[in-house]
Chain length 221, copies 2
């Protein structure tokens, strides 16, 4: 799963100098917090002068915004891919007259989708715990406009999970009294992994398996 | 439940000037992070000079340590009180010859205790979300000696929860495959409330009720 492998998250950031500044900023923000980090700190981690930083990013907040945007988008993508109702349903592959029923039988149950989503989302937060901490704990440092953009992705993340819970309630496999509250709790369980995770405690994928099971137990009828 | 009411957490801090510095430090650390906060910031929030601060606390780290110590102790106390196996068992009240069997029948089931513990622990993290954020996110700023003291309380918190899960496994009411992993997950669910909680989202006690139910579902046989 390429989105779970650290270096690839930033490979689209070009040129390399901009990428070095971004990863330097993640380390600095994670170590000292956004407020205590100077643009000089970030530039020197990237082997650059503060003036060179401004060629790529107009401000320290802009760096935080890009980190937050990429981090949230990557987490949303992981959740969306894992929760795909019919991941192997390739259009055009099935004969036209049977494609509709074929796609129905290929659909995975809400339980399968929920387990896969929480497993992947949890493993992502373990693997990327440094980025996830910056992204989750420094929201208050974003400008209102940037926060609004990030908030839209956060709502999309919630909507993905709430939909699979609603699907399970609809088909009777889940019993959920408070849908938004339970959605938030399940996401929160995965996100908090970033706070305490260190590689010596567990492998990201093992943690994902445990949390997928626990989430399923939280909602099963 | 007095420990859940904000001002009372610090009432034992004397004199009032020391208490004002402590609450000023909580607000400053929560707003800007430990690293970006100066002793001057903290002193001015308490209406004092930086020199007056040093009369009460030798360093900014000492303030963080006291906040961390009190915050962790309060959370442990809430968990311990809520999980008491026989809260109404008052020694000397029962006739001596029947006291042993009376205390057995008064014992609450692991399910009741777990639900009460998670409810109270969650409500505490909602009510005290500002303190909890400082306590949870600034551990790395403590000296090794202070961190060791706090870590001992953290282990006691885990032990309280792990014990009730183990009791439930023993009497067959719980099915838990990974006891330490599930203990961490249940605690994590409550602690992460501090990250996203704002009073407009839910009342602390309602959130506690929901989370008590969810935790029980995570472990029930």
């Amino acid at each position: 799963m390429s989105a779970v492998t650290s270096p690839l998250v930033w490979e689209h950031v070009q040129p390399a100098a901009a990428r070095r500044l971004l990863t330097g900023a993640i380390d600095a923000f994670a170590e000292r917090g956004f407020q205590a980090t100077t643009t000089r700190d970030i530039a020197s981690r990237a082997g650059m002068s503060p003036a060179a930083l401004y060629v790529h990013y107009p401000s320290k907040e802009r760096l935080l915004f890009e980190i937050s945007l990429y981090g949230h988008r990557a987490a949303l993508e992981v959740l969306r891919d894992a929760g795909d109702p019919a991941p192997d349903d390739i259009p055009g592959d099935a004969a036209p007259e049977s494609s509709s029923s074929a796609s129905v039988t290929a659909d995975r149950s809400p339980a399968e989708r929920l387990r896969a989503m929480v497993s992947a989302f949890t493993a992502w937060h373990a693997e990327h715990h440094t980025i996830a901490r910056v992204v989750q704990y420094e929201l208050a440092a974003l400008t209102p406009e940037h926060l609004a953009e990030v908030a839209a992705i956060r709502r999309a993340i919630s909507a993905q999970l709430e939909q699979v819970l609603a699907d399970g309630v609809d088909d009777g496999s889940f019993a959920v009294e408070d849908l938004p509250g339970t959605t938030l709790a399940v996401l929160s369980l995965s996100i908090d992994v970033a706070r305490w995770y260190t590689p010596h405690r567990a492998k990201p994928e093992d943690l994902g398996t445990l949390y997928g099971d626990l989430a399923l137990r939280m909602v099963q009828a």
